[in-house]
């Protein structure tokens, strides 16, 4: 869809797409009186790959739960292609074209791999067998595992299945929560490669990543979240070159990666 402007691996500019998702001033929490998110705003444009980074407990996953309708915000608005999402059931949000892969518990463990894909395909509409075939073309490793229970898969296979389940819906916006978490280094590469491919084929992506340097290198733009607030946002490349971001949010992780 968009010619992606890439230099040295890091993308400098955002595709000039229209605003797709606008989250404004989101306040949310789990228990009364405790706001985990204290006014977070974020925008994703058509065709972009946007990353959210930040320390553990910053509220990144919470922000995605609010986006997907699993947690109702106390304040703020979420517009997706002009439609307000706050107050909609999660299934209605998915029907508008968002698809989400949670950080943990992102497959149905007691269903087989095939059944996991089948129920997603049934939501997507007619032509389930072809839809499933297309996902198996993207993630061929799942082919041999179709009859296995998803709970028996390795971490990498499970992540592929979770992404396959989300992609079968042909989303306009794919929402990923730490897709590389807990994977072996080789699997991390494979997952990032798939994400880049999916984005290049026109699917807009919003993802959280602990692997911040890798994520920013492939992202058009990034947001740094800290203590439930926006800390910094800029293009992926600018964030990588921002000394404050490097010191506070990339330093340790960068060292871990080099090691």
């Amino acid at each position: 869809m968009n010619a992606v402007d890439q230099q040295d691996g890091a993308r400098t500019g955002a595709p000039a797409g229209a605003e797709m998702l606008v989250m404004e001033d989101i306040v949310a929490g789990y228990v009364p009186g405790v706001d985990i998110l204290q006014g977070v705003s974020l925008t994703v444009r058509q065709g972009e790959l946007v990353s959210i980074i930040g320390p553990n407990g910053a509220g990144k996953s919470t922000l995605l739960k609010v986006l997907m309708g699993l947690l109702r915000p106390r304040r703020g608005s979420i517009r997706f292609q002009g439609r307000e999402l706050v107050g909609l059931k999660p299934s209605a949000i998915v029907a508008l074209g968002l698809s989400y892969v949670p950080q943990v518990r992102n497959v149905f463990p007691n269903l087989t791999v095939r059944e996991n894909l089948e129920i997603a395909a049934a939501v997507a509409g007619p032509g389930a067998p072809q839809r499933i075939q297309r996902i198996l073309d993207i993630f061929p490793d799942l082919r041999d595992k179709l009859r296995s229970k998803a709970g028996t898969l390795s971490g990498g296979q499970r992540q592929m299945l979770a992404m396959g389940r989300a992609l079968i819906l042909e989303p306009k916006l794919l929402v990923l929560d730490e897709p590389s978490a807990g994977l072996a280094p080789q699997m991390v590469n494979a997952v990032f490669q798939k994400i880049a491919e999916i984005n290049e084929q026109g699917c807009t992506i919003l993802m959280i990543e602990q692997n911040a340097r890798r994520a920013l290198e492939m992202s058009h733009r990034g947001y740094v979240l800290d203590m439930g607030r926006n800390a910094v946002d800029d293009t992926g490349r600018a964030l990588l070159e921002n000394p404050r971001v490097v010191e506070l949010y990339l330093g340790k992780i960068a060292q871990q990666q080099d090691a």
Partner: protein
């Protein structure tokens, strides 16, 4: 002895049909529904109403009982359970609410039918040999057995092969993930109630075909039902089926070994406890990934 086993199989089949709904509702809603037994009673009395009022045979009333049980289950889902889910009510609150529903239902039946036992009005049936085996059953017992087995197989097919069934299993794995997979969870829950409530009512009709009806029958049946689903591994429909048959057979066969009839339910519990000592998570509880 064989005759007692046969009786146990009939009782067990009926328990199995009634228990499937209880375990499905638990696995999908995490709701221990103490009103489930009273759905069984409601089904039995629906058939009695039709039997006495229209002169239909009890078997003919099965579909009506299913619809009545399902309809009441939907009504309660809309009035009570959905609201409590949205409020994220605690398990204890849900149990207390279900006991309230149970009492209300039971008292309504007492109000309309009185507390004394009643029987379906139909010609007396003679026990005849079943499938050429050295056991005898009345026509109604045979019907109850065959109908139960058919229903159990139907539930199996539903869960294993249909999208609704797979979606129900997905929900019991992870409700939030089901929501964000685009599944309208409220819709699937409603179907769960239709199946659970309907089957409980059908179980009640089948029960009434083998013994007298009284308003507490479902309440008393609730204990064997819980025994069956706990034995099978709570939340596992196949476990409930296996547990149902096991409890039924153990109960009836105990009578053969001289246990007084009043105590046969207790024997079912002893069997449950022994089985749980051997398989702490229930017969089917092991194969689960969480």
């Amino acid at each position: 002895m064989l005759q007692y086993v046969a009786n146990g199989i009939v009782v067990g089949a009926i328990i199995a049909v009634a228990a499937i709904g209880l375990t499905l509702v638990y696995s999908i809603l995490r709701l221990t529904n103490f009103a489930h037994g009273d759905f069984v009673t409601l089904g039995a009395y629906t058939a009695l109403f039709i039997n006495l009022g229209l002169g239909w045979r009890p078997a003919a009333a099965l579909p009506v009982a299913f619809v009545v049980g399902a309809a009441l289950a939907i009504l309660l889902e809309l009035l009570v359970w959905r609201k409590m889910r949205q409020m994220r009510a605690s398990m204890v609150a849900l149990i207390v609410a279900s006991i309230g529903v149970a009492l209300a239902l039971r008292n309504l039946l007492v109000f309309f039918y009185g507390p004394s036992p009643q029987n379906f009005q139909q010609p007396v049936q003679r026990a005849t040999p079943f499938l050429g085996l050295p056991v005898t059953m009345t026509a109604d017992q045979q019907f109850a057995l065959v109908a139960s087995v058919v229903l159990v197989l139907a539930v199996h097919a539903l869960l294993r092969y249909t999208t609704l069934g797979k979606t129900m299993r997905a929900l019991s794995d992870n409700t939030d993930l089901a929501w964000v997979s685009g599944i309208d969870v409220d819709r699937v829950v409603t179907w769960t109630w239709i199946i659970g409530g309907g089957l409980a009512a059908v179980g009640g009709v089948l029960y009434g075909m083998t013994r007298p009806l009284y308003p507490e029958l479902g309440w008393h049946l609730l204990l064997p039902l819980f025994a069956a689903i706990i034995l099978g591994g709570i939340g596992h429909p196949y476990g409930a089926i296996a547990g149902g048959f096991l409890i039924g057979i153990v109960q009836e066969v105990s009578v053969y070994f001289g246990v007084p009839v009043e105590y046969k339910i207790a024997v079912g519990f002893v069997a449950m406890i022994v089985a749980l000592l051997l398989f702490p998570r229930g017969l089917f509880g092991e194969a689960s990934y969480r």
